[in-house]
């Protein structure tokens, strides 16, 4: 009878259990691996043969068939090596094997020298193991920490195949490998802090608003005025990630093979800044394996698109659906994976082709400026609740004393406003911040006092705003009020929100048809 050993395969950010069945059939020596496997799995044949031999075992001199069940789902990755080696040993009775093996699962790549190598996606695999009721997981030493992030599971880590086998045979007892002790400080921003940003008080106010209400934002400014500097610091004032959020982010990075410090939860909110020549697949996700893109890598964090006008129009428009749904499904011929992508979009661009619009040196005509700005489609612009100018700072002021406000102080305000929103939206699963409010919710939560209403009407007449823009203002005004803990939208909240869209106001004043 064929031996059965448990392992896992990845689908998107989740793993599902796979049974590795091994049987030895009579016939000429050959190894055949089936079960809709990709090249990486198929190549395991060579690795497993070499590793068994090096570890002092015998590879069966007959036809060996290995089946990865369920057999109708495409599987990839080199982490099946360990399970296959154990399966072969079990079937050829070189592993005395016992009943307890059905409570074990395996994930690890083998080297030709029979050592165990780490593999991506161990975190979701450990989660899948726990969910499937498998109590024991065997991984490589490097993956130990990552797998241990999931509670309710015994994780065993080894360095060589021989050690695994002697443990399973009950010949040696398990001794956990030495680990560098000490958890990292929970967040690591290096030296990034808003106190280095000076002379941008007005902008900072709106950055806080964006962070507090989850509003997407566009920064306009001449080259070198500090747009990127500001953007890089936005994650430092977003609320701390909850355990669940951190786990989500770590899972995505694990699957993408981007966990730099294996086994540590990612606690700092991600900040991704893809270059503007990024392809649609790089941004949204894709490739033959339908892997995660930049939007998923910035899940629970900030996606910063610098020079957003230089991105391909199609690439940008592909952002529309993920921005709405906060989740993206990548479909390829052989794969279809879903990834979460709840990110805050921060973008920056020059206000005109030369970059100095409104300054003495700018010679761009309004028609050129408009053409340049139209590189951003209406629907994308529409999703930016806040569009602010970043004013060039007088560098003589910069050398002076008096720092800006520190990130810690700003974050406190953000957390306060978020708390208000949590209370408001308690019991409503689809919404967590003001920016996500739907039209009926705006109606319910953004009641206006007379003075505020009058102000909005004035703006409406003066700048010919659309009804859609109207909602945007209310959402932003809601966040302004939340920052002060005010239950109602006051006149000043409305006034401040009306100043949140510099570009719209400016375009109303342009001399164009």
């Amino acid at each position: 009878m064929a031996s059965v050993v448990k392992s896992f395969a990845l689908a998107g950010v989740d793993a599902y259990p796979v049974e590795v069945e091994t049987d030895i059939l009579g016939g000429l020596p050959a190894v055949s691996i089936v079960g809709l496997v990709d090249t990486a799995v198929r190549e395991a044949r060579e690795r497993v043969q070499a590793a068994l031999r090096y570890a002092g075992f015998k590879f069966p001199g007959e036809k060996v068939v290995i089946n990865l069940a369920p057999g109708d789902i495409k599987k990839g990755g080199s982490h099946f090596d360990l399970a296959m080696a154990v399966g072969v040993l079990l079937r050829s009775r070189q592993l005395t094997g016992n009943d307890m093996l059905e409570h074990f699962a395996f994930a690890g790549e083998l080297s030709l020298n029979a050592t165990l190598r780490p593999c991506p996606g161990v975190l979701p695999m450990a989660m899948a193991a726990r969910d499937a009721g498998v109590q024991n997981l065997v991984v490589s030493r490097e993956n130990l920490r990552e797998a241990s992030l999931v509670g309710g599971l015994n994780v065993y880590a080894f360095e060589t195949l021989a050690a695994v086998v002697s443990f399973l045979n009950g010949e040696t007892s398990y001794t956990p490998p030495q680990q560098e002790s000490g958890e990292l400080p929970d967040e690591n921003w290096g030296s990034l802090d808003f106190k280095e940003v000076r002379g941008q008080d007005a902008l900072l106010e709106y950055i806080v608003i964006a962070a507090a209400g989850g509003h997407n934002m566009l920064m306009l400014g001449s080259p070198g005025c500090g747009k990127s500097m500001v953007a890089r610091r936005i994650p430092t004032i977003l609320p701390r990630m909850t355990e669940a959020e951190a786990l989500d982010v770590t899972k995505i990075y694990s699957v993408a093979g981007l966990l730099k410090e294996r086994g540590r939860l990612i606690r700092s909110r991600p900040f991704r800044a893809p270059h503007h020549n990024a392809s649609t697949s790089a941004l949204i996700g894709g490739g033959t394996d339908a892997g995660p893109g930049e939007i998923s890598l910035s899940h629970n964090g900030v996606l910063f698109l610098d020079e957003i006008a230089e991105f391909g129009k199609k690439t940008l428009d592909a952002l529309r659906q993920p921005l709405e749904d906060r989740q993206v499904t990548i479909s390829r011929v052989k794969n279809s994976n879903s990834y979460p992508c709840s990110f805050m979009l921060v973008s920056a661009m020059n206000p005109c082709p030369c970059g100095y619009y409104g300054q003495e040196r700018c010679r761009c005509s309004d028609y050129e400026v408009l053409k340049y700005r139209r590189k951003l489609s209406g629907p994308i612009l529409d999703r930016m609740d806040i569009q602010k100018y970043v004013q060039p700072v007088n560098f003589l002021d910069l050398s002076g004393e008096g720092g800006g406000t520190s990130s810690a102080v700003l974050r406190e305000r953000v957390e306060f406003a978020r708390q208000k929103q949590r209370e408001r939206f308690a019991g409503q699963p689809m919404i967590s911040c003001n920016a996500e409010m739907t039209a009926p919710q705006v109606k319910e939560y953004c009641s206006l006092e007379d003075e505020g209403r009058r102000l909005l009407e004035q703006a409406y007449e003066r700048f010919q705003y659309s009804a859609r823009a109207f909602h945007k203002f209310l959402k932003v005004a809601r966040t302004f009020a939340d920052l002060d803990g005010s239950p109602h939208l006051r006149r000043q909240d409305v006034a401040a929100s009306l100043m949140a869209r510099d570009m719209d106001r400016e375009q109303a004043g342009m001399l164009v048809i």
Partner: protein, 392 residues
């Protein structure tokens, strides 16, 4: 008949002057077409070779092709004998025999020309906007060239103020150059006309522009030059206008600025009058023209020119201005206003906030309200300045 006009305009080696002579002698293009060798030779300027070339070019195929294109793109022909062809232009020696146009031509299509630099400054833009809007309110057509910068601003501001505008092009009227002006061009066609001496399909070329400049000045009673560098197309237009006997006005500017060397020079050389306010662009003829266009009421026309101008100046600015009375404003608004006025030039709000005595939050709130109420103008680049009523 039209086809013979086209044929005449396409004759090789026969320019505007010779066309005129031929028309004078034969009366109409059909007769020129049927003229014999002897008759042609009798005209001064028609040499032997040229006559042979004209006789050899008897085919109407080329003209028919152009006619087909015109039909496709809704292009019409304005020929010298057309009553819509202004007498003021007709009398000029180099007025072309045919012009292609899209849009509507009025009986009184001549107006005031506004030309200037493509790479203009905010100052030039403001002057062009004010002048064009003023003329539009007076019912005077604005004549320009739909080029980047001042030209397009003049056309645009006129249309925005509900006026009638003409744009003369250095290429076929079915082509939009620069391409960013597509919407502007369509708006001009709808509320005015685009005209060109070049047949449809002709791409823009530098050597075509002097001809178009000639037409701009020809169609203008007066010409306003806003920002022109030395050796610019606008200077050519100014000199042509001078030759055609049109009064030229130039906008004075910073003497150190390269863009203004041309206009300042025009003033220094006495070619142009110094331009200080839009009402200078009103002459007697224009008022008659305006009255004919029915845009100015009889009552207004009876008043003296200065009165009309003053009355319309405020109208041209369009907005209902708040009372320019600082005293009646709340204290915060008064402080912000005086900060703005002291600054002298448009400033970024951040700069002003640094000088504000009260709480920052109050500053932002008040400024927002002032922008919405029109007390403060929002300018390009996020800058602000006090609205006009508070500056005087």
């Amino acid at each position: 008949m039209e086809i013979y006009w086209l044929w005449l305009s396409m004759l090789p080696g026969v320019g505007a002057l010779l066309q005129k002579k031929l028309l004078q002698r034969f009366g109409s293009p059909v007769d020129i077409y049927h003229a014999g060798e002897g008759e042609l030779l009798s005209i001064e300027g028609m040499g032997k070779t040229l006559t042979q070339r004209v006789l050899a070019a008897r085919s109407l195929d080329g003209a028919a092709r152009v006619q087909e294109k015109m039909q496709k793109s809704g292009i019409r022909l304005l020929v010298l004998s057309d009553p819509l062809y202004p007498d003021m232009v007709k009398s000029l020696a180099e007025a072309p025999a045919v012009l292609y146009y899209r849009g509507t031509l009025h009986g009184q299509s001549c107006g005031v020309g506004i030309v200037g630099a493509r790479r203009c400054t905010a100052y030039g833009k403001e002057v062009a906007r004010e002048a064009a809007a003023f003329l539009a309110k007076q019912g005077i057509p604005v004549i320009s060239g739909m080029a980047r910068g001042i030209d397009s601003y003049a056309n645009t501001a006129c249309l925005q103020a509900g006026g009638y505008t003409l744009a003369f092009l250095g290429h076929g009227v079915d082509i939009c150059f620069p391409a960013d002006h597509r919407e502007l061009m369509e708006a001009i066609v709808e509320h005015g006309a685009v005209l060109s001496a070049y047949p449809p399909g002709t791409e823009a070329r530098p050597e075509f522009f002097p001809q178009r400049n000639y037409l701009i000045s020809a169609w203008s009673y007066r010409l306003l030059v806003v920002e022109a560098a030395q050796k610019s197309g606008s200077l050519i237009t100014a000199n042509l206008a001078k030759q055609q006997g049109r009064p030229v006005f130039a906008v004075p500017d910073n003497i150190y600025k390269r863009q203004s060397a041309g206009t300042n020079g025009l003033i220094a050389d006495g070619v142009a009058h110094i331009y200080l306010q839009p009402r200078q662009l009103l002459g007697e003829v224009e008022q008659v023209a305006a009255a004919a266009n029915g845009e100015v009421s009889a009552a207004l026309a009876e008043k003296d020119a200065g009165g009309i101008a003053a009355a319309s100046l405020t109208a041209a600015q369009g907005k209902t201005l708040p009372q320019a009375d600082h005293g009646s404003l709340p204290a915060t608004e008064r402080e912000i206003l005086s900060l703005l006025i002291d600054a002298g030039a448009p400033r970024s709000p951040e700069e002003l906030a640094a000088h504000f005595s009260g709480e920052k939050k109050l500053f932002w709130e008040t400024l927002a309200v002032m922008v919405l109420e029109g007390k403060v103008d929002n300018l390009a680049g996020g800058r602000v300045r006090p609205c006009a009523a508070f500056v005087q």
